[in-house]
Symmetry: C2
Subunit: 164 residues, 2 copies
DNA sequence: TTTTAATCTAATTAT
DNA sequence: ATAATTAGATTAAT
């Protein structure tokens, strides 16, 4: 077989990428129009009607449409990376010092931890989101606690009013 | 040299990442407390502020902190990738067929075009944003055109009213 | 179920 | 003009 594609997530390549690269990538430069029955609506219909990410049960991928995040032929999402404890320890230690590592630090970490640079990038993005979430929740608890104390204070004052 | 760090954008590492990885990453696991003067009062800044990038009105960043996207020691952003015409041609051809390439297609393209997979991912994100932008603008023009035609029609009708 | 890696949008920054 | 980064929301794997 010419194509050594690995079907990792159970999705089968319907159209070979070589078809696109070989035919469209080269012929299209010469103004050659290809017959692409699935592309008749390419620029029009799919503004964002289909964007909001439902369609879990893929209808057969012929026809429509390869223009939504969920029904994408040829490969699903990247398999979840399982960081080791020591990798997380290092990342957390760096995060203590720098929450926005630049490209050089990310590359350095990637080399040091044997990870891809963009895994580092994603890790820091998710780590910042986690921090913001925890800060929001702790602020919320502060407010709730303050309100609760206010309530107690009001009840105390009412008690005093009654006793007076 | 032990360190093969490439100063791509003219940024110099001030604190070696090895300090963090070597000291914090290993000793911290044994409960060893480190003296980290920059964690309190960062005596660093002279080197940080001549970084290549921003800091338009940077107030003295002593004290705090490396926790903002702009004052990040050790590296700025990734240098802008300059895609070749033929790379863009292929990416555009694929985009015609699939606006949401999964991991397999992205990896395939990365290998084929000699790019990192993450550059492919980013390219498609930006390309979708461009498409949405252009669709929004074209819809806006449609509405504007419709309004203009309505205006003309109204004027015609008024003309008829006057002539009658 | 909970946590978090991965993906997406939208806005922005910066080359 | 567009590559890179961010926050934020969501999806999905563990």
């Amino acid at each position: 077989m010419a194509s050594a594609v690995v079907p990792a997530a159970g999705n089968l390549p319907v159209f070979s990428i070589e078809r696109i690269l070989g035919l469209e990538g080269k012929l299209a430069e010469r103004g050659v129009k290809l017959h692409r029955p699935w592309d008749q609506t390419a620029e029009v219909q799919s503004d964002e009607e289909n964007k909001s990410c439902q369609q879990r049960h893929d209808q057969h991928p012929s026809r429509l449409s390869f223009h939504s995040p969920t029904s994408s032929w040829y490969g699903g999402r990247r398999p979840r990376t399982a960081f080791t404890d020591s990798q997380v320890n290092v990342l957390e230690a760096v995060f203590q010092v720098n929450r926005y590592p630049g490209i050089q630090l990310r590359e350095h970490l990637a080399g040091r931890l044997d990870l891809d640079e963009d895994r580092i990038q994603i890790w820091f993005q998710n780590r910042r989101a986690k921090l913001r979430r925890s800060l929001r929740e702790s602020r919320l608890r502060m407010v709730q606690s303050a309100v609760a104390h206010l309530g107690m204070k009001v009840r105390e004052d009412l008690q005093v009013d009654v006793e007076e």
